[in-house]
């Protein structure tokens, strides 16, 4: 996050020059930095698209949109929170959607078996925590690469879900509960469950940006060794991140099951890629060390709004996935291109200053 331009990029011959390069720009600080940061750009894009959709797409600007749109993005929004923290440390969790599917399958079987619904929910949540602990154990304690481990558990958890519920689908969940999961707060169109989602967002936002633990995650993203030397317990941090990810994935699984009133083994399949796409669009670097919760929320909402608006305009899904794909590539490529251009100009400036000195 806090790079300054000169330290690493300045060439060695600078040592014999007493004067600094006058025209070298300094890194921005304070409000200017925040307003022009990578995640702020996502927020501007979101606002711009919302304005466009409200004007150009009939019926878009209504509380109904808010309701349907938010109900659609809630699972992605939930899982994106722990995913942001994990990607900031330079790791990844691909098993999130399978954990949600496993939770859903477990809910179905336990409820069909006649268990009390609150106990079913508690056990399902614990199952998610256990799945996260399993990932955490393999990655943090045994030190295995997170990509390999979670590709494995992606298949493993989905397989377990199939073992648990098989080809069946359980649909007869209590009506008041399923109705609650699609209910709206008065005339605002905001789903009631958003209250819980906002709490999760605040929790992870505060954890990442306002605690020593969160600062430690950024440090880990830059260099795990260095983070270890300055006293951050890298293994323990990683372990708890995966436990958190498992717990939130379970919440998403429970939400999915009750929102669609259907517990099945294939619920939420493919969701992990939607989450990672939204997190990257929100300005988190896949290499770790960079990113923010507000940016990610904007990223999730941008993809969600784009999807919903295009669907409302009856644009074919083929066009839709192409648009979101291009958007993602642009958002990742553009800063790199920008950095390359800047680097080239910097080098040229340094060369020119040297040739002036030599003359």
């Amino acid at each position: 996050m806090s790079e300054t331009t000169s330290t690493s990029t300045a060439p060695a011959p600078m040592a014999d020059s007493t004067k600094p390069l006058a025209s070298e720009p300094k890194g921005k600080t304070g409000a200017a930095r925040i307003l022009a940061s990578r995640d702020a750009v996502t927020i501007y894009a979101l606002i711009a698209f919302l304005l466009y959709a409200a004007i150009a797409i009939p019926r878009f600007a209504s509380p109904v949109t808010t309701g349907f749109l938010l109900l659609d993005v809630i699972p992605v929004l939930l899982i994106a929170m722990p995913m942001t923290l994990i990607i900031v440390t330079g790791e990844i969790d691909l098993s999130v959607a399978s954990t949600a599917g496993l939770t859903s399958a477990l809910m179905g079987v336990l409820w069909a078996g006649g268990m009390d619904i609150w106990l079913v929910l508690a056990i399902s949540l614990l199952a998610g925590v256990a799945a996260g602990m399993f990932n955490g154990f393999l990655i943090a304690v045994l030190g295995l690469p997170s990509l390999a481990v979670t590709i494995g558990t992606l298949a493993l958890f989905r397989g377990l879900a199939l073992v648990i519920i098989g080809d069946n689908a359980v649909a007869n969940f209590p009506k008041p509960l399923t109705a609650f999961f699609t209910s709206k707060l008065g005339g605002t169109g905001i789903p009631t469950v958003m209250i819980g989602v906002v709490l999760v967002m605040i929790f992870f936002g505060v954890l990442l940006h306002f605690t020593p633990f969160g600062r430690g995650l950024f440090a880990m993203g830059y260099s795990k060794e260095a983070a270890g030397f300055v006293g951050i317990n890298v293994a323990r941090s990683k372990f708890w991140l995966y436990v958190g990810s498992g717990a939130v994935s379970a919440l998403a699984g429970i939400y999915w099951t009750l929102r669609y009133t259907s517990a099945r083994s294939d619920n939420a399949s493919g969701l992990e890629l939607a989450v990672i796409a939204a997190v990257l669009l929100g300005g988190v670097s896949i290499f770790g060390g960079k990113g923010s919760i507000p940016g990610v929320i904007a990223g999730v909402l941008l993809i969600g709004t784009l999807n919903y608006a295009l669907r409302l305009a009856r644009v074919s899904d083929v066009v839709l996935i192409t648009v979101t794909g291009l958007l993602l590539i642009f958002s990742v490529v553009a800063p790199s291109v920008g950095a390359a251009v800047k680097d080239w100009r910097h080098t040229r400036r340094v060369r020119r200053s040297f040739s002036q000195k030599a003359a």
């Binding site: 150009a56 019926r59 670097s285 060390g289 305009a313 642009f330 800063p335």
Partner: protein, 357 residues
């Protein structure tokens, strides 16, 4: 990696802003087209009457040859029944919850009739409930939703008939005895599972089939590659397999393609539900003797007329209601809001050239 660590200066921000705007602009252009016609979905203005009535078809998934034929019939029916516009929207993958956001968007767009082939009978229910309270009529076709969530269900044929004809065909082709397997679509597909249930009952109860043993049920998820691999796996896992029933057009075509290039060609029988155009080469080269299907275009056609009848208040979905489905004549609503389109057709080398779908 190094590239990414470098400071992104004003130029970088500008570049990414430009990029995002460009992508958004791209989306906008797409939207502009969307109001008229885009990709697979097109709106057709009916010549006379109908006014502003809108019908939308939501198939299980887009880009499926069978679905395309059903929807072709649906478009024709919608125009003849007098709808002002007809749309096709739907997911690219046949998953349970993927249809919900399409239903939501249609609800908001004020569509009068939503015609849906449900990937999961219950997952779409809440969304359909909201659509109904907004005034839309719901016609399920091809694959039913929970009966509480729709007005009528347009069924190809009586499910039992479809099952029986497939068991009869496989029995004839393997000479009445031996091991058989089923290669279906998704494990949760309502219609496929109903047929399989009837097939199993028939195999167990009919003495004529006492020597036939169902050894495996596998699922190709209506995905060509997966079905192909499942077929391959089936024959490897069951060396004594004599026949395969594939009650899905994607599955039967993939299996036929595998059989036709393998040593099992002509030795392992294959039947099920297929599209004549896709199965023609395999019938001609001897991989497949006979398979069955109804005329899928009629399904969409009847669904459109049922939707119109519901809007006009001619039918309510109650048992005994009747309506006229254009050139197909009168159709009756049976118990549970069921409307039957017609009996299945058996295709073989003699008659396959007469059909083009």
């Amino acid at each position: 990696m190094m590239l990414n660590r470098k400071n992104t200066g004003p130029t970088g921000r500008l570049a990414s802003l430009v990029a995002v705007t460009a992508a958004a602009a791209l989306a906008l252009t797409a939207c502009g087209g969307g109001s008229g016609s885009t990709g697979g979905s097109s709106s057709s203005a009916a010549g006379g009457g109908g006014g502003d009535l809108k019908i939308t078809f939501i198939p299980k998934q887009l880009n499926n040859p069978y679905t395309d034929v059903v929807l072709g019939g649906g478009k024709k029916g919608a125009q003849e029944a007098g709808f002002g516009s007809s749309q096709v929207v739907g997911p690219l993958e046949a998953s349970a919850s993927s249809q919900v956001s399409f239903i939501n968007a249609e609800t908001q767009a004020g569509t009068n009739v939503i015609t849906i082939a449900a990937n999961d009978p219950d997952a779409v229910c809440t969304a359909l409930g909201e659509a109904r309270s907004a005034g839309a009529k719901i016609v399920a076709f091809d694959s039913d939703t929970n009966p509480d969530c729709r007005d009528v269900f347009i069924s190809q044929v009586v499910a039992k008939e479809v099952a029986l004809i497939q068991t009869k065909l496989i029995s004839q082709q393997i000479g009445g005895s031996g091991e058989i397997a089923i290669l279906s679509a998704t494990a949760n597909a309502t219609n496929q599972n109903e047929w399989i249930k009837f097939m199993e009952e028939e195999l167990a109860s009919n003495p004529a089939y006492k020597d036939i043993k169902l050894v495996a049920k596998v699922y190709g998820d209506d995905n060509d590659t997966k079905s192909f691999q499942e077929a391959q796996g089936l024959l490897q896992a069951h060396p004594n397999l004599k026949g395969i029933i594939s009650p899905t057009t994607v599955g039967i075509a993939a299996t036929a393609r595998y059989l036709s290039t393998s040593a099992y060609k002509g030795k392992v029988a294959l039947t099920g539900l297929g599209l004549p155009n896709e199965m023609r080469p395999f019938v001609k080269d001897g991989t497949v003797k006979e398979f069955a299907l109804w005329d899928p275009a009629q399904l969409g056609y009847v669904a459109a007329f049922a939707g119109k009848a519901l809007i006009d208040g001619k039918i309510t979905g109650a048992e005994g209601d009747t309506f006229t489905a254009g050139e197909l004549g009168e159709r009756k609503v049976e118990k549970g809001g069921l409307v039957i389109v017609g009996p299945p057709t058996v295709f073989n080398a003699d008659n396959i050239d007469k059909y083009n779908f």
